[in-house]
Symmetry: C2
Subunit: 147 residues, 2 copies
């Protein structure tokens, strides 16, 4: 088992498109936790169709705008850690849909907080020889309210 | 111009996959406004992979669970009307990604309310001769907080 495979949920396949998408999805959260803008940029498609809806935010469109939002989040005081639960992935051709709950542990000068964010992540496979792989084209997170 | 085409945004194509997806997306909101469970059922794929995240809700998975949520919403007192703005659609093979803002006008016994919900809708094309068309596989709505 490689280090990469350690990141996969128990029972998940270790090869094939589902495994590839799960690794891309995990890399997204790793980049977020590390506040690593370069790693985050490697995960997203750099195109006009990308869309990002942070919890409670308006829709952000196009890669430069989405990139700027991550830059602002990563240079802010909050640091986020995630425990990912209730994850499902489906692949249809070159498009993958991942939904999950981000169980958030945030820390910063204002103190620590917890919360659950429901997230939808859409990946599209880049089939070019250079840059081959799954790229994030849409991320949508929304706070789960206590019922 | 047909009645169906009247529903399309100004400048949108009147045929081809983008037009088909825009019609399917409009049919989703028409069914919601009309509180028409049968029309809503015709829009969704009836499969285990469907996923619905209502604003502030947890993730709902599988068609029977998603159907039940719409049934409860439609039999409740609230009636919703939507003005759809900031809509973008991209089609990649048999998958379509629609994002938009639902400008909500809700009315019910508790009074009227307004608000903006950012929404992500993922459609997948069913290519079988019977049942041909775009089906909703994921709907995610989240309240946009005042900034």
């Amino acid at each position: 088992m490689t280090a990469e495979e350690d990141d996969l949920p128990t029972g998940a396949p270790s090869s094939g498109p589902i495994a590839e998408v799960l690794r891309a999805n995990q890399a997204f959260y790793d980049a977020h936790e590390a506040a690593d803008l370069e790693a985050m940029a490697a995960i997203w498609e750099h195109s006009d169709r990308v869309v990002c809806i942070h919890p409670g935010w308006q829709i952000l469109r196009t890669w430069p705008t989405v990139r700027d939002s991550w830059s602002r989040i990563f240079t802010g005081p909050a640091r986020n850690q995630f425990i990912l639960t209730n994850l499902a992935v489906s692949v249809d051709g070159d498009t993958a849909l991942v939904t999950l709950e981000e169980n958030l542990i945030a820390s910063g000068p204002a103190g620590s907080g917890t919360g659950v964010v429901a997230a939808t992540n859409v990946f599209v496979r880049d089939n070019r020889p250079v840059g081959h792989g799954w790229r994030l084209v849409a991320h949508h997170g929304s706070p789960v309210m206590a019922r």
